[in-house]
């Protein structure tokens, strides 16, 4: 009896400690959220308390001053197009190089993996030269191409692993039915890659949405900033007006946090699967 009670007590205590730990861990986020609803004076007076006179003024001001709508638009355009491009070019290339059992494809596989250890910062400086030669500097297309090169290895790696687990007999029966290679890939194989595509979307989407260094130098400001470089730039101008800083921070994180809360499981498994690069 007492052993059982002892155990129950211990699990109870363990659970309390787990919750306490979680709350402490989330405390910085509480600070950011609660202070974004306070006026500047209220933050100075009571930085830790819940807002007594909650206001949306900070959000309105941040939304206009930092031009958040246009930052969202730029980030969304770049993220969606880069992710779509990466998925398209790497899934079909992965299909061919993993299915054909010849020397060229073995070479192509090894060649694709060269980039997996290369951090994007290594290719940033030389890419600026390449991009200006192609007249793609300071344009969203330039950043799109840069991401295409930088993350191709990672997506190829994800897709080759996954395609290996799809039986070749599927290709063969489609072939007998008269489908062409491109037809087999897009009609039969690509739909089966959904779990892998989901992983790639989450992983690449998050890296690209949150990226800071590359858009700062490749995109600059001439054709609109991304959300990260945009708020970095805007906040630099307010220095210590924390109410506006927090409103900016919340607006920048809002879409990705909502997405995470809706798809927690996919996020966790996606990020774990992509851990090979990081």
């Amino acid at each position: 009896m007492s052993v059982k009670r002892n155990r129950l007590l211990r699990t109870g205590l363990g659970n309390c400690l787990a919750v306490l730990f979680a709350l402490i861990y989330l405390f910085p986020l509480y600070i950011a959220v609660s202070n974004s609803f306070k006026s500047y004076g209220d933050i100075l007076k009571s930085p830790l308390a819940l807002p007594t006179r909650p206001t949306l003024d900070n959000f309105v001001e941040a939304f206009h001053a930092s031009n958040i709508a246009s930052l969202y638009a730029t980030s969304l355009l770049i993220t969606v197009s880069s992710v779509a491009l990466l998925i398209l070019i790497s899934s079909c290339a992965a299909y061919v190089i993993i299915r054909r059992n010849n020397k060229i494809c073995k070479f192509l596989y090894a060649y694709a993996l060269i980039g997996i250890m290369v951090p994007p910062v290594v290719t940033l400086v030389p890419s600026i030269k390449t991009l200006s030669m192609l007249h793609l500097m300071y344009k969203p297309t330039g950043l799109l191409m840069f991401y295409g090169g930088a993350y191709f290895s990672t997506t190829i790696f994800l897709y080759t692993g996954f395609i290996n687990s799809i039986p070749v007999s599927l290709d063969e029966s489609a072939y007998i039915d008269g489908a062409s290679t491109i037809g087999i890939f897009f009609k039969i194989i690509f739909p089966l890659l959904k779990p892998c595509t989901a992983t790639a979307v989450i992983l690449m989407g998050m890296w690209i949405w949150n990226d800071f260094l590359n858009p700062m130098y490749i995109l600059g400001s001439t054709s609109g900033r991304t959300i990260t470089t945009g708020i970095y730039n805007a906040i630099g101008a307010y220095t210590s007006q924390w109410n506006l800083v927090f409103a900016n921070v919340i607006l920048a994180s809002f879409p990705i946090v909502v997405l995470y809360l809706c798809m927690q499981k996919q996020f966790m498994s996606g990020l774990t699967a992509g851990a090979v690069k990081g």
């Binding site: 930085p47 290339a93 910062v121 966790m268």
Partner: protein
């Protein structure tokens, strides 16, 4: 089954074209530039052999950046792996509280490093920051996190670890779930204590996860840029600059692209060597059952 060669080519070519132009060629250019004195603007530059590297190894800024980078790497690697393993083991129970704690640790990983850096720079302020307000309640004098470069670097390392811990925790939890429960039960029947079970069974069987996580955390620490850039900008006077920060500054503010390429090449070689060593050491320690 006969394959249509043209179709194969069409499926493979676009990806490899983009990859070659925007990854392989720039990678080669990085090697090439590191042996030149190119300034990023003029058409003329000279091959200067190993001069960039010789200059690099006599450059006090480089050694300081190396030191800063290594301190950040050591602290974050320790937090990620020691705290990561401990939390995974402690939270590996079927209860709502533990599931909540795991997702709580994961939330910051989806946030942008810029966002995280701004939130924490408010929290760590000397005047009116959250930490010092709380300390003040207990009558403790405010702690200046910016008093010395070392303090600032340690603070930034902790912030980075807070941002990234979730990913490492999830990987450790996944590895932990691959350990068969019968092993634990058998050890319990044989009278092994909790600590004994942890060191003799759990830890050796978690080696695959430890391999991945230590490589990941080392590589991540070595290329650190964002948090430092936002919190201190590398200052005061370059005292908290990391290698990546130094190379970006040399490339874009001093227009010394050749020298900057040499710096980044050293970093790249470090990442490759660290990963290779790590892989061979931890692979040997992995246990089969």
């Amino acid at each position: 089954m006969k394959h249509n060669k043209l179709h194969d080519f069409l499926l493979v070519a676009p990806g490899y074209l983009i990859y070659t132009i925007f990854m392989i060629i720039p990678l080669g250019m990085c090697f090439f530039y590191s042996f030149t004195n190119w300034d990023g603007i003029s058409k003329n530059y000279k091959m200067i052999g190993l001069k960039n590297f010789l200059r690099l190894f006599a450059d006090a800024d480089f050694y300081n950046a190396l030191k800063v980078t290594l301190i950040i790497t050591v602290i974050t690697v320790l937090i990620y792996n020691v705290l990561g393993v401990l939390l995974a083991v402690l939270l590996n129970r079927k209860s709502r509280a533990c599931a909540f704690a795991k997702s709580a640790v994961f939330v910051p990983t989806v946030l942008s490093s810029v966002v995280v850096a701004f939130i924490w720079s408010y929290i760590m302020q000397t005047d009116g920051g959250v930490i010092n307000t709380v300390l003040g309640v207990f009558g403790i004098a405010p702690y200046d996190f910016y008093a010395t470069p070392l303090r600032t670097i340690v603070m930034i390392s902790v912030i980075i670890a807070w941002n990234g811990l979730g990913l490492f925790l999830v990987i450790y939890v996944a590895t932990l779930n691959t350990i068969p429960t019968e092993l634990m039960e058998a050890a319990e029947v044989d009278g092994a204590s909790g600590v004994q079970r942890f060191f003799k069974i759990t830890l050796p069987l978690m080696m695959p996860g430890i391999t991945i996580n230590s490589i990941l955390s080392m590589a991540g620490g070595l290329k650190q840029y964002d948090h430092v850039k936002v919190i201190t900008g590398g200052g005061p006077g370059g005292a908290t600059q990391t290698i990546t920060l130094l190379s970006v500054e040399k490339a874009f503010e001093y227009n010394r692209r050749g020298y900057s390429s040499a710096i980044i090449l050293v970093l790249f070689v470090m990442i490759v060597i660290v990963s290779a060593i790590q892989l061979s050491i931890t692979k040997r320690r992995e246990v089969k059952y």
